[in-house]
Symmetry: C2
Subunit: 294 residues, 2 copies
């Protein structure tokens, strides 16, 4: 019979909640407990059935095989060393030979997380991961089965995680039907800036641009059609999640914003000077995205 | 019995082809003929059954009740007065009292189109329209039933179209299940810049940004997930369609690009200075798009 794990999810939002659903449903989890500081979200998570029970943060390692840290990136970096400390303390009290418990985080920035655990005696029990899936919605109500199916998950073990821990986490993401990709944390953060973080910044800026015009013109949205909706969709994403990501991944995000603004300026110049051939070349080059994105 | 119309569609791409399908299927068209300069697209349109036959441009008004001009905006502005000339010539030869034929265009820019017909003796037979629907694909293969259902269509008759022509065009878009909105051409172009044209420019620029990075890093797209795909989707749109739109709507598009770049700069400044409260305020403001876009 397949081994089952007692799982504790810290942060019962879209990601944590969706993991809870499928890890239980697909038989990886024998039990799922939750830690959630917001009392409304905590009550909802129990009522919806995302978790068996909600427990205090201070008990998150007790009786758990795997602790999933699924709070926003800022808070997660503070909690990670605390959780590793709890593991150390447990082990001292138990007198057992080695800790077998595993801690993972699911944050969109990885260098800061890895730094937060650096040099910790329990570093080997920590596996940094980033399941690259999501929607623009948040909270336990947004959690859904199948959210991760077919998507990519970056695992940044970089040889600093114990082999058994890395292997178990691989199985966990296999259960979630994710393709796992190994990458070091710095590389991950640079890639994430290009294929995820910049998309959010451009959507936020687009929303702000159109909302500014709306002040003078209440009817502007009568015309908003499919193209606009898909481009601006990510602008619904929450500040709680995105402030720490943009802050922690500052250098990469600024690099990408600068390149992006150069491209916008090139478009502006071509349009302003009536350089149709220039506009055409820019669009033709941009069309190369067709062979990459379905 | 409902009156049926003999329709000629000039330009058998996504928009023209999709109109042909539903106008026939829903009984508005008694026949649909096509004009298409690209021989491959012309052959495909007949084979797929979008049109009964393909005819030369010079015969587009002959035996037609409604001529739909569905070529890219640049070419359309050149053809519109030619088609109105054909109507004038037909009428002189026929000796009938008044022309009852109708010409519509479906371009994404309207001021230039209206200017192209200004002062023409047949101006009353022309109704400028913009059915705001589409996908990022083009050509007769991209045509589909239902493309227009539930979307908005701007009609810029501004009192310069004959009443019977405007009424018939209203029925045509009713058949396509579109909400029609009356707007003058200048207002339309300003609105379209905000809710459609800027979305395309930001998508093109995003594609260019990421493709530039891809030159150094072939694996960057392994991580591209849902958020990126939806934001960059419009970057697949064709240069043939978008060069004339961005060129014809230059002043509005430049205004919106400038506002947009100010918003991007505000984000950049807040991120660069580590001003988390500032990032939070920008995101919270952008989140107001939630109440407008589902």
């Amino acid at each position: 019979m397949k081994r089952q794990y007692a799982i504790t999810v810290i942060g019962l939002g879209l990601i944590g909640g969706s993991m809870a659903i499928d890890l239980r449903r697909r038989g990886f989890a024998s039990s799922v407990r939750g830690v959630e500081s917001d009392p409304v979200n905590a009550a909802a998570a129990v009522k919806i059935g995302l978790v068996d029970e909600v427990i205090p943060y201070s008990l998150c390692t007790e009786g758990s095989d795997i602790i999933v840290l699924a709070v926003p990136a800022g808070a997660a970096a503070g909690m990670l060393p605390e959780i590793l400390d709890m593991l150390s303390m447990e082990q001292r009290h138990s007198g057992e030979e080695g800790c077998r418990k595993i801690v993972i985080d699911v944050c969109s920035t990885k260098s800061g997380m890895v730094r937060a655990a650096e040099g910790h005696p329990m570093r080997g029990r920590y596996v940094p991961t980033h399941p690259m899936a999501g929607t623009e919605y948040s909270g336990p109500w947004a959690a859904m089965s199948g959210l991760f199916d077919g998507k990519a998950c970056v695992i940044c073990d970089s040889g600093h995680s114990d082999k058994d821990a890395a292997d178990t986490v691989e199985k966990l993401y296999d259960t979630l039907h994710m393709r796992t990709i190994r990458m070091d944390p710095d590389n991950h953060d640079m890639h994430a800036a290009y294929v995820s973080h910049i998309s959010h910044v451009t959507s936020f800026a687009l929303a702000l641009t159109v909302l500014k015009q709306e002040r003078n013109d209440r009817h502007i949205f009568d015309l908003a059609s499919g193209g606009f909706s898909s481009t601006v969709r990510l602008a619904k994403s929450s500040a709680d999640m995105w402030v720490p990501i943009l802050d922690q991944n500052r250098d990469n995000v600024l690099d990408v914003i600068d390149t992006y603004m150069e491209e916008m300026q090139a478009f502006r110049d071509a349009i302003a000077s009536g350089n149709k051939q220039g506009i055409r070349e820019l669009i033709n080059e941009a069309n190369r995205i067709r062979r990459i994105i379905r």
